[in-house]
Assembly symmetry: C2
Homo-oligomer: 444 residues x 2
């Protein structure tokens, strides 16, 4: 079991259980539909869908163990008939969802669950937690990929993510968004994501000299050596790396690269490039890592840093400029009536929905329409983004491999205009509401 | 297994394994000491130690499974003799640590591990990840508790934490820091933390009317009802709650409270208080939740909000104003030499250390001295904060119960001057370096 596995149905806010007890007591067992969506966020022009695989796995396994039921009984909060009901509960509902790797926008449902009220309600906390962190990190990572303007980029965030689950999710979500690999070995094993990494400062300090450390590493990994050159002095480190690189060259081997991890990256990368070139090592690449995020990456590239590939850590791994999304899961239909919360400033669209996307003749995204699920697709809508993925608690078809999800994102991202990808003050992508969906809102 | 459990030794950055292979190849198996500490953070005047219990559990279980070794072999990166070594590896080192619930400051070691170089190195990623998130969230929670000026406060953050592990950690860390409970049921089960929660908007909308929803809830939970009153209109919700509250009163029962979740909290809480008081329900409490953090809490209290208890969610649960700590794990001794990284702007104190804390005669904290582990305690130092918790891979004594950790924090926090607790621009707590420790730095 890895940190991304479903932690079981007690991973929930208590009120989901007390509400369920209330519904049970009053025999409120009509089918309900809940919609999962994100409220507008000033710092994000688009979002990337991720987390569905984990959610479907959780729905498959949604079951209270005897031990969990016994513990709930001991809390003294719940009646026996309700606990008996929970003990037999499995997920029997239907799920409509956007595929992972899809691009979406605020207020568009990412997922709609239709199930007996209690089943649908009990999933709330887990769904928001899981889809929220996965989509937030895929979105942050997509911004970083965009900022590198095509250069390779690797996830180095594992040590600073907010816990182990986030550490797994960021490796997967960033790979979906176009990262080339991760330092996270367990994620490499779990999802076959390329793993990356060579040495830290402690390795260099463990040897008598920097040169000794580089030589020891090159002996062991002659085909995949990247030397960290800033432990003592970056320029001297570059000269030491060049010496070892030339010795490798003489043996018919090739040093892969050097890594910078501190200092003025624009200036240092140029000087290090010169040292390597003058040593006859123009093919040795310069990697860099050091508090990067999309803003720093974009700055480095605009200012002509001679960096060939980036390691991106903490600020990407916690989405530091926007460390949470306002993702919510709201009831939109109960039995045969459409419902919505009407509190000030927080509007929910009632009704079971579909998202239609218009494309121009050359395939670029022109705008979305949030409609009713049974709306006739509007003119020019070439895609309905939500598709059934589970019916009566059973999955419909196999999940796509991660490579396919990554390809989907690359395809979609290429169709999105640059104005929506801007790192600051992105344009607002047009999202309209269909006439029939708008009419429903007046009635409830 | 819960989300806070050790994910195994592959939960690591790849470079820990490649460095270990390098040490193994060169027979670098001297004992090393690594120090875990936090670099200065502009938004935090103090930090709260948390996460040690999970770390010691991980050290107990640190072992590669056959399946993990086989997978590493299939990556083609490692030689057989190294993999055989890993297959037999367990943690055999010594650990000095601050107890959980202790207050600490930048550059002070929270933990020092002395072990054969490879063992100590392989722990880096997991240690920083686990102690980092636990201490970050305990620190954030302590600020929130301080801001409530003694009013009860509950963790409602589970749905918005960065993944499931963080969701568990925030419940535990915030309880250590003085929270009164959590909405997280699994954390309640795991650590016996009081659980809290009643209803969401979806519960209210599931009934024909708000009054029906309140009555259904009161029937089922006559002794622990808190009605959410902002689904339609907060003041009308308060009047509806008062009607049901009076009916409960007539039956000899007592409505516990109402909850506000949107709108102008200062104004609404006063109006709702008046409605409840005029209905003869002065004992019914007002709970509130709505995007709170220490800054909002402090504002509400300064402006005379009539709120009796707070539910704090997202912004606390992700430490939104400071979503990561610059926690590092650095080699400070190898064999018989003290070592340190010397890169620009990032200084590490070489040598095996102890933190001495001075107290005034009335028990208040006067300042810390970071010294060598075998320093004679400086004048006035009444406590050495690091104590041995593991020797030769075996635990020394049982871990304290969570209640004891919580009491420790309360004791320590009471001894810290208010200037260091200020939410903005906190004073800088005096931390000095002992003469002997300073001398060591010149030599390496």
């Amino acid at each position: 079991m890895t940190p991304d596995a479903f932690p079981g149905p007690l991973f929930t806010d208590l009120y989901e259980l007390t509400m369920a007890a209330g519904y049970f007591q009053r025999q409120l067992q009509a089918s309900a539909t809940f919609s999962l969506f994100i409220r507008p966020h000033p710092k994000r022009g688009y979002f990337v869908s991720a987390g569905l695989e984990a959610v479907l796995d959780a729905l498959d396994r949604f079951r209270f163990s005897t031990e969990e039921i016994d513990w709930l009984a001991r809390t003294g909060r719940f009646k026996t008939d309700f606990l008996d009901y929970l003990a037999a509960l499995t997920f029997t509902g239907n799920v409509m969802a956007m595929p992972e790797g899809e691009i979406f926008f605020p207020n568009e449902p990412l997922l709609e669950i239709s199930a007996p009220l209690i089943e649908a309600q009990l999933l709330e906390t887990y769904l928001i937690n899981t889809m929220g962190v996965a989509s937030m990190l895929a979105t942050k990572a997509a911004r970083c990929v965009y900022a590198t303007a095509g250069r390779p980029i690797v996830d180095f965030s594992l040590r600073r993510t907010q816990g182990s689950h986030a550490g797994m999710v960021v490796a997967r979500s960033s790979y979906i968004a176009g990262f080339n690999g991760t330092s996270n070995v367990l994620a490499g094993k779990q999802w076959d994501i390329p793993i990356s990494g060579t040495m830290a400062h402690s390795f260099v300090t463990a040897f008598e000299s920097e040169i000794d450390a580089f030589e020891a590493y090159a002996d062991l990994f002659p085909e995949s050596s990247i030397f960290l050159i800033d432990t003592y002095d970056t320029l001297q480190g570059a000269r030491n790396a060049a010496r070892v690189g030339r010795r490798m060259q003489a043996k018919g081997l090739a040093l892969q690269g050097v890594r910078l991890d501190s200092g003025d990256m624009v200036d240092l990368s140029r000087r290090v490039r010169r040292i390597l070139d003058e040593a006859g090592l123009p093919e040795v690449k310069i990697f860099a890592s050091s508090g990067f995020d999309e803003y720093v990456l974009s700055h480095l590239i605009e200012n002509g840093a001679r960096i060939d590939a980036f390691g991106v850590g903490t600020r990407m791994g916690v989405s530091a400029d926007a460390p949470y999304l306002d993702m919510v899961y709201k009831m939109v239909r109960l039995g045969n009536r459409d419902v919505r919360k009407q509190s000030e400033g927080k509007v929910t669209l009632a009704g079971e929905k579909q998202v239609f996307r218009r494309r121009s003749p050359d395939g670029r995204f022109r705008g979305d329409i949030i409609g009713l699920r049974d709306d006739v697709p509007p003119d020019g809508a070439t895609a309905a983004l939500l598709a059934p993925v589970m019916e009566k608690g059973r999955r419909l078809g196999a999940l796509p491999p991660l490579s396919e999800i990554r390809d989907r994102f690359a395809d979609r991202f290429a169709r999105l205009d640059d104005q929506f990808k801007r790192l600051e003050n992105p344009g607002e992508y047009p999202v309209a509401v269909s006439r029939r969906l708008a009419e429903i809102q007046k009635k409830c």
